[in-house]
């Protein structure tokens, strides 16, 4: 049986431009999108970043099946976040849809009151928060479905970090794939002994998962010993001068252009509010308002 064992796996076609992109460029794009989304919180700026994310995902030609998992996670998180924000924040707006005061606890010392206020502003802010979440998750989805674990290890080695860093990252990726196999095998073994793992009362589920951790831990210990022996046996020292890097992973013109563009986006997001008092989404706001009128 083929299990999905790699944490990172490039699903995009080999000729898609994102496959030629340097992994460090992609990491930089994700970092910039995260920073600007955290910095500029108004709905128009967020909408601009969302448009950039959607464009990246579309240009990467990532199949929907590959990002489906991210989208499903997103949907769940959005529902939770929207409900929590609407029910827990108190922000008066121009229109109030619902206002209630629920006394949760009343004693001689005072009352614990839950003030529910649903206004047009609560809803607008909740949607803006959702949009920011979409940007963060789509940026990560773009990176994870267009980059494989090999690219990441190359990228780290390109940075000329100590061999230990790239070796540890490579081993973590390998350990994940092996541990996934082990997890399924151990769970099957428990089921074969009459334990319906993941069913029944919560205490039994917890107990079963504690049992499950025992062989996983034992296997990790045994394998760590074997892997470290295998690395040593091949005479791979962690510190050694004069190492070469087999794969030249050059920065292409597109990498420099994208780095420049996203660098400019970051600078603009940080500086425009200071210089003009408006956010980077101001032109979009002006456009929307013009069309609305």
């Amino acid at each position: 049986m083929t299990l999905e064992k790699s944490l990172f796996r490039a699903y995009v076609p080999p000729d898609a431009f994102v496959r030629r992109m340097h992994p460090l460029t992609k990491i930089a794009i994700v970092v910039v999108l995260n920073l600007v989304t955290l910095w500029a919180t108004d709905p128009y700026s967020t909408a601009l970043f969302l448009a950039i994310c959607v464009a990246l995902v579309l240009l990467s030609r990532s199949p929907l099946s590959a990002i489906r998992g991210f989208l499903l996670t997103l949907l769940g998180l959005m529902q939770l976040l929207t409900a929590a924000y609407i029910l827990l924040s108190v922000k008066p707006g121009t229109v109030t849809y619902l206002e209630r005061r629920l006394v949760l606890l009343s004693s001689s010392g005072g009352e614990l009151v839950w003030h529910i206020l649903i206004s047009d502003r609560t809803i607008a802010d909740a949607l803006a928060l959702d949009m920011r979440l979409v940007v963060l998750i789509l940026a990560m989805a773009f990176f994870m479905v267009t980059t494989n674990d090999r690219d990441i290890v190359y990228g780290l080695r390109k940075l000329r970090l100590p061999l230990a860093v790239s070796l540890i990252v490579a081993l973590i990726f390998r350990a994940i794939s092996i541990s996934v196999d082990d997890f399924y095998a151990v769970r099957e073994a428990m089921r074969a002994k009459g334990a319906d793992v993941g069913t029944g009362p919560i205490w039994r589920r917890v107990r079963d998962y504690v049992y499950l951790m025992v062989p996983l831990f034992v296997l990790v210990v045994r394998r760590s010993e074997e892997v470290s022996l295998a690395i040593e046996a091949r005479g791979i020292p962690i510190r050694r001068p004069g190492r070469t890097v087999y794969h030249s992973l050059p920065f292409h013109r597109e990498d420099w252009l994208l780095l420049a563009a996203f660098g400019a986006l970051l600078v603009a997001t940080l500086l425009i509010p200071r210089l003009t008092g408006a956010s980077i989404g101001a032109p979009l706001r002006w456009l929307v308002e013009s069309l609305w009128r």
Binding site: M1, T2, K5, N148, D149, R150, V153, L163, L167, A170, L171, F173, R174, S177, I178, D182, A185, V186, E188, A189, M190, R191, A192, K193, G194, A195, D196, Y211, L212, V214, P215, V218, L219, R222, R223, E226, V227, S228, L229, A230, I231, E232, A233, R234, G235, I236, P237, R240, G242, R243, T244, V245, Y246, H247, S248
Partner: protein
């Protein structure tokens, strides 16, 4: 000067009760192929690690004597200098890979040596060609290759560094017959084309007889036997006392009283030329009991679309002793996992003791079908041996008194009573395997399925485990084993199901299956040496399944004293 010179080598792991090596001395000339044999714990792997300086570098302990490789004292020289001269391949191919593609894996050691990228490319291609893999494999993830291919990549990664000595520590014990054949073909090629110096640790005396120039047998850390291969493997009685099974033809020679029995099947055939082969005793009939398992039109497709079973029909009767054989990916384990409900049919049906497996939960089926996985470490969850044995019955809701009674019975059956309070983590592999079988037994299932019960174990441990399964079968349990070991099938099972491409392509007694050249070729299984020898002597007769059987059919009077000479001695559990 010898390429390897080991002088009075002793090694005592820190905290161990006994030394792992005690006064080992030997020499290896350039271009020699030396096999190291011995039961589990004899010191074989420790010796290998001393050869490439992993000991004392990687382990704590006390060392005496010395190891010289090309004149360099391994304990006092630069470790990386020694590691560059002595390449090592381990048993489990999974744990040897670091990088994500075959190309990167082979290149890693070269990068580390500062080889220029253009030269690395050429070296990677040469190494891959040396192990007979096409260039199209360069971009493949090593983890997605078959077992044999993985070991070939591990060997290629080592060859790329052009070591003077290759040390292979049981490189084939986790592989199916096809994988073993691949690895041995590479070793044969390296020996013929490169005059490579090879140190091979193996339990497979038949392959040792075929490839090795000399054999070194270790026992309790000492060299017990050493010499040219034919001479050592001909000392059948001494090998058996050391827990090593000589090649079957050598055992046959011993029973027939040949003055110098050897492991060469061609020599044995020449010696037996013209001998008359008597017909075998009537085989045991299949039990006339009711069906324990009924499988009809079973198909199974995994979520990725792989069609692992393509229409399997099968009936197992109560009390049968059945082997399921075939190469990796043929569908053996997929079929077995349907019998205890771990997998659900995509099409068709499976009935176990009159109950349709798909209609009950696996935990319900666990009462009827015990399943032992290949790796004992996947199925031991508890803090003590006793708790482990009690795990299944407790999950089935049995009373504590009943659980205790079953645990006591099974502790005796699997011979683990002295270790009842030991943590399973600290047991030896053979003991862990017996504990895994025992943990299935406490459920008292009608059917017990054991997946690869003997993989990676020495012959003496294999015999212990098989003796346990024999006793269970005699007590009325239906026993199903999945295995690549044809000697085990021949000597223990009464029925063989041969699988290929998700179908049962043959179903019969071991003798019927081994006599069918088309089936054995298609399923890539190699009948035991005695079966091949008897078929070569008289193709019209059913093949012999064991050494004593062939000796008897050749007219030799075999008494208990003679049989004692080939019976393996265990070193205690």
């Amino acid at each position: 000067m010898s390429l390897i010179r080991v002088e009075s080598l002793a090694w005592h792991y820190e905290g161990a009760a006994e030394p792992a090596l005690r006064g080992v001395s030997f020499e290896v000339e350039r271009g020699e192929f030396v096999a190291v044999m011995g039961r589990t714990g004899a010191g074989k792997s420790t010796l290998c690690r001393c050869l490439n300086a992993l000991i004392p570098r990687h382990s704590r302990g006390t060392m005496e004597g010395r190891v010289l490789v090309a004149g360099l004292d391994t304990a006092r020289s630069d470790f990386y200098e020694i590691a560059g001269r002595v390449g090592m391949v381990f048993q489990d191919p999974e744990t040897q890979f670091i990088m994500m593609t075959v190309e990167d894996e082979i290149a890693l050691g070269l990068e580390n040596r500062g080889v220029e990228p253009q030269a690395i490319r050429a070296a990677v291609e040469r190494a891959l060609a040396a192990v007979g893999l096409p260039q199209s494999y360069l971009g493949k993830p090593p983890t997605e290759l078959s077992g044999g291919q993985k070991q070939r990549v591990a060997i290629a990664a080592m060859l790329a560094l052009e070591p003077e000595i290759l040390v292979l520590d049981e490189p084939t014990s986790d592989l199916d017959p096809a994988g073993k054949a691949e690895v041995f073909a590479i070793l044969e090629r390296l020996k013929a084309e490169r005059a490579a110096t090879v140190i091979l640790v193996s339990h497979d005396s038949e392959q040792v007889a075929r490839y090795a120039d000399r054999v070194l047998v270790l026992d309790q850390g000492r060299v017990a036997l050493a010499g040219p291969t034919a001479e050592v493997l001909g000392r059948v009685r001494e090998l058996a006392a050391l827990g090593i099974a000589a090649p079957q033809v050598a055992q046959l020679g011993f029973l027939l009283g040949w003055p110098r029995p050897a492991g060469d099947p061609r020599a044995a055939l020449q010696r037996l030329h013209g001998a008359r082969l008597a017909p075998p005793a009537a085989p045991l009939a299949r039990p006339e009991s009711e069906p324990a398992v009924k499988v009809q039109g079973l198909e199974h497709a995994y979520p990725d679309g792989t069609l692992a079973l393509r229409g399997v029909d099968l009936e197992l009767r109560r009390g049968e002793y059945v082997a399921i054989v075939g190469s990796n990916g043929s569908g053996k384990t997929t079929l077995a996992k349907h019998l205890n409900g771990l997998l659900r049919p995509t099409r068709g049906s499976v009935w176990v003791a009159g109950v349709e497996a798909a209609r009950v939960r696996p935990s319900e089926l666990a009462r009827r079908v015990g399943y032992c996985f290949q790796n004992p470490d996947h199925q031991l969850f508890c803090q003590t041996v006793e708790e482990e044995l009690a795990f299944g019955p407790r999950h089935l809701g049995l009373s504590e008194a009943e659980v205790r009674a079953r645990v006591e019975r099974v502790l005796e059956t699997v011979g683990l009573a002295p270790w009842r309070n030991e943590h399973p983590f600290f047991l030896g592999k053979g003991q862990r395997q017996r504990l895994a079988v025992g943990a299935a037994l406490t459920i008292e299932p009608e059917i017990i399925i054991v997946d690869e019960p003997t993989t990676g174990q020495d012959h003496a441990m294999c015999e212990e485990i098989m003796a346990l399964l024999d006793r269970l079968n005699q007590a009325g349990h239906t026993v199903v084993i999945i295995t690549h070991d044809m000697e085990l099938v021949a000597e223990h099972c009464r029925r063989v199901l041969v699988m290929a491409d998700g179908r049962i392509i043959a179903d019969g007694s071991p003798a019927q299956v081994f006599a069918d050249a088309e089936v054995t070729a298609r399923a890539r299984i190699e009948p035991p040496q005695v079966a091949r020898l008897s078929l070569a002597l008289d193709p019209a007769q059913p093949p012999a399944l064991s050494v004593p059987e062939l000796a008897r059919r050749l007219g030799a009077p075999i008494d208990e004293a003679a049989l004692q000479g080939i019976r393996l001695h265990t070193a205690g559990a």
